[in-house]
Symmetry: C2
Subunit: 417 residues, 2 copies
């Protein structure tokens, strides 16, 4: 068996070692409408040409809740939150405290990157936001964030000064091009290694930030700038000989009243109205980047005494804007969630509605310009794009609706390597 | 390669040819609570012993809507309605008429049974209800229903009089043991062939009817009789040397008001109230067996002019009892449905609520004793049970939450054959 075709098994799936440089990108908050709109207006000529050629773009599904950490981890492990353990950006720890799910100690499954690295494949993970970096670095994967690229070297690859390799300093995390900088790092490190060692990266993962998508709908100026520059980066990767696959961690919906103000159901206020005194509402969208969404998304966990659960469930379910409400055991099966890390109730809201704790606990000044957020079913729909011709089996699977967590399978096993 | 290990590819998956007689059963309406309750009270000693030994039982998911035809076809094809085309028991044909999805001309993918038969594996499909027989027979698979066993022979297997082989006449379709008769047919035909030819069945599919589950909750007398007899049949199959897997096509929930009367939202009445004049509500649960549920389930398709869709969507979504509402394109991705066979809107209701057309169009006298039905997310949770030890990879997959359409994969590839 030639080395290129030897298989690496990760979480029950076999992946071929890449024989060509291969990159998987997760474009944070890339609602398919951004691509459709930008291509329709000719802003993405490289993507359009790729799709007119061997490439393919179909819609697929991410995991629930439609949030960054659960989806990035599902993509890099090729499995579900029930297996890898990351069902939110944030969760309630067994001691009752709220904790960011950023520590790899919470990971219950190895990543494809880690297992490839273990058998000698040259891998790299680049993320725009620091919050994901430690999870992606699990298993000694070289990993760097655009946010802290000025402080973090890549000692595993013998690179100290990453901005010097890129050729420009890293932007700030709320700059429009923080995401593109993450893409630039990946390509620049590849080319640097190629020149230095005669061997570039073999498998690269790039994850971006959705500040732009939270702030602007398809067709608005900063969104246009984002997708134009993304298209240039797609072209640069293809020109460098990469097999490329990209998806989104989640879509993005305007969660607003007709007057443009945020449309939010405050679950603690509902529970107070029922006279329920003991409860804990956890918003798994919570992360350090509150300028995006004010911690208001379309998914919530509610912890409360068994005696109050059915009453709370019925009250939530009756609200206009709330869609599904499940007790823990149902939610674990329906969403493929780890039962020990979710609430007594899981609550999902519709495309137009966000869920909050209590009105007094959210600073809406950050989202005055219009709340755009995600977390629910409606933002579970994501683009799944592959640059090269898929085998017949994979092409049929792609067309019939794959999941974003199948993307490494597509680029490593579905494309003739 | 020994014949037993040669692979048969069906809809993108490879299946090993069975080397031991193998049966997959779909127990119609088998909400997991029926098994849990019956085992807790000692009514299912053979199942309990199997699970205490090599067997395993975990919860998993069927496809949406949680109805008989979409799920049986997903199980026997190993794929989704987007691929096989059967998204309801019933649908709206391109000419606008409502049509039962029972004609194999509607199938867009071959079944595992048909592909196995094509390479010489001895297969049989048995169903309690005639409505499924033609779909299961697609590709020249010998197929028979308990309902019409007195009229249908199995000429492909050289058997004219099936009740004579079973040793008793077939019950009526609304008898409590119509399902067990389907199980009896499978085993009796196997033993008859073994005796006559020295070669029994190699791969058998048995699908039952949920009349009992529609009528009685776990622990009620007819339900107890059903599960006791099912347990005897599990034992009989194991004693005959079968590898056995079973699942359900869907669960079952009481859709009732506090006073026991049916809890139904009539979608046409809602549309009338909005002043929308042109619409077509299709209930995909509709089938010839109206005594079960009066065509009242938790899923509906609504066809209406584009100009009225958003207004109707918002009105449905605001109703207490309605959960998800999706436009066609979203529904196709989220539910893995064929976009050309579903409504402009897909509507799902909660565990306690059914959806109807107009009040005047449903005969509630059939469900006066209490409406128990299915079709929504809450009835998507099904047991997935395998009789023999699974390989480590399959055991992990089983535990983390598989789908019922993976069951042939489990018994053929996951069990050491």
């Amino acid at each position: 068996v030639p080395a290129a075709y030897s298989l690496v098994t990760v979480n029950g799936r076999d992946y071929r070692r890449p024989s060509r440089p291969t990159v998987v990108m997760t474009i944070d908050g890339c609602q398919p409408a951004y691509l459709d709109d930008a291509m329709a207006r000719g802003l993405m000529p490289r993507l359009s040409a790729m799709l007119a050629g061997e490439g393919a773009y179909h819609l697929g599904r991410g995991v629930m809740p439609s949030l960054t950490n659960p989806n990035n981890v599902s993509i890099v492990t090729g499995t579900s939150p029930a297996v890898h353990g990351i069902a939110g950006n944030h969760f309630r720890a067994p001691d009752g405290s709220e904790v960011q799910l950023t520590d790899p100690a919470h990971l219950r499954a190895p990543t494809i990157l880690a297992e490839m690295q273990r058998v000698g494949v040259r891998v790299l993970a680049v993320t725009a936001k620091e919050k994901l970096r430690r999870l992606l670095a699990d298993g000694d994967v070289p990993a760097i964030s655009a946010e802290y690229a000025h402080e973090q070297g890549l000692p595993g690859l013998g690179i100290d000064d990453v901005p010097a390799v890129v050729g420009r300093p890293n932007p700030k995390i709320y700059d429009w091009d923080a995401s593109h900088y993450a893409m630039e790092i990946g390509l620049a490190v590849h080319q640097h290694l190629l020149q230095r060692d005669g061997q570039g990266l073999e498998l690269l993962y790039v994850s971006t930030t959705d500040f732009v998508q939270h702030k602007e709908a398809p067709g608005e100026p900063m969104a246009d700038r984002f997708y134009r520059r993304f298209d240039e980066m797609i072209g640069a990767y293809l020109d460098a000989g990469f097999v490329l696959g990209f998806t989104a961690d989640h879509g993005m919906s305007a969660k607003q009243e007709a007057d443009g103000s945020p449309r939010v159901i405050y679950l603690e206020d509902v529970l107070d109205g029922l006279g329920i005194r003991e409860y804990h509402v956890v918003l798994p969208i919570t992360d350090p980047y509150v300028l995006h969404h004010g911690a208001l998304g379309s998914f919530a966990w509610v912890y409360l005494p068994a005696a109050d659960r059915e009453r709370a469930r019925a009250a939530f379910a009756a609200l206009d804007g709330v869609e599904e409400v499940y007790p823990r055991e149902e939610a674990a099966v329906i969403f493929e969630h780890p039962a020990d890390r979710i609430g007594d109730l899981s609550v999902g809201s519709d495309a137009r509605t966000a869920l909050g704790k209590a009105q007094a606990k959210h600073d809406l000044s950050n989202v005055e310009s219009g709340l755009r957020s995600h977390g629910g079913r409606h933002e579970q729909i994501v683009p799944i794009v592959v640059s090269h011709r898929l085998s017949a089996r994979y092409a049929a699977w792609h067309e019939a609706g794959a999941q974003s967590r199948d993307l490494f399978d597509f680029v490593l096993n579905g494309v003739a390597q």
